[in-house]
Amino acid sequence: MNASSTNTAGMGLGIAGLVLGILSIPFGIMGCTFLFGLVLAILGITLSAVGYSQARQANAQTGLIIAALIISIVGFGFSITRMANSLNQSQIIFEKARDKVEKIQENAEEYGDKIGESYEEAFEEGFKSEYGDDLEATLDQLEKDLESLGDEIKKAGVDIEADVKDFTDEDQARKLGKAAGRALREFVDELNDTTDKE
């Protein structure tokens, strides 16, 4: 085996590893290019490791290759530190943004409630000025009236049912049904007219 080739076993890879390691340091330090630096450092470490293995097997000099490995590891360290720094900062920014959004939501809800209350007050004021009475009391009375009306309709329905059962004539039953339908239609039309006028 040639002695000179034995002495330089792994040297090519060591030189490549050294250059990559040297370049990975400035790129790894800067926030803009740390990923590029990381790739260079990993390549440098890989090439240096392989070159070291070849040199050891061939009993060649390993000084340069070890230096390449160390420099690549330093570059790797810088890149990883920068990456961790960026990720940590992004998490802080995300949490601050989330807190801001939550605060805005709370403020929006509070503002919405205040708006709703002021609209409700304005509505009641307008109602009272026209109708002359308190809205709540009017609604309570209206509810009672509707309830009693509902009871009366139910009672009328029961009476009609009882009457229909006693009918012997089909025509009489038809006439009663028409009368009931007409009465209900008139009532609904009157109710709709009143609502449309308002």
Binding site: I29, G31, C32, T33, F78, S86, Q89
Partner: protein, 132 residues
């Protein structure tokens, strides 16, 4: 000078030339450098090195005031690479001096000087990196 040291200097000088060519090709005005700022992409915030690419591109066009506006450290970092480039060329051309001095001693001196220059030029970024 041994073949190994020569090769390392040639490769480093070539890499620096490629860096200069990259920044000479892309204009600082339109900001279309292919390598994006990863930190800004992740966080949305600028960093100490934001604007460095545009600064380098401006320096390559001899617009030094503009380079300072993009990033105040751009000239300092650019000088580091420029000095390193000239040092590599000088070492390649002065093989006799290296041989007389003794290569090991020269390499050690080269490594220490380059390291010191690196720390001086990149000191703001190192501070930014180690501030968590």
């Amino acid at each position: 000078m041994t073949h190994v040291y020569q090769t390392i200097n040639i490769v480093l000088a070539s890499c620096i030339i490629l860096i200069f060519i990259y920044y000479a090709v892309f204009s600082p005005d339109r900001s279309r450098h292919p390598i994006p700022s990863v930190h800004t992409l992740i966080t949305g915030e600028p960093t100490a090195s934001t604007g460095l690419s545009r600064g380098f591109s401006a320096i390559m066009r001899f617009r030094f005031d503009e380079a300072r506006n993009y990033n105040i450290y751009s000239i300092r970092i650019f000088l580091f690479f420029l000095i390193q480039f000239f040092v590599r060329i000088v070492i390649l051309l002065s093989g006799q001096i290296v041989a007389e001095m003794g290569q090991s001693r020269f390499v050690m001196l080269d490594a220490l000087a380059s390291g010191a220059l690196f720390i001086f030029c990149f000191e703001p970024f190192l501070r930014d990196l180690l501030r968590f």
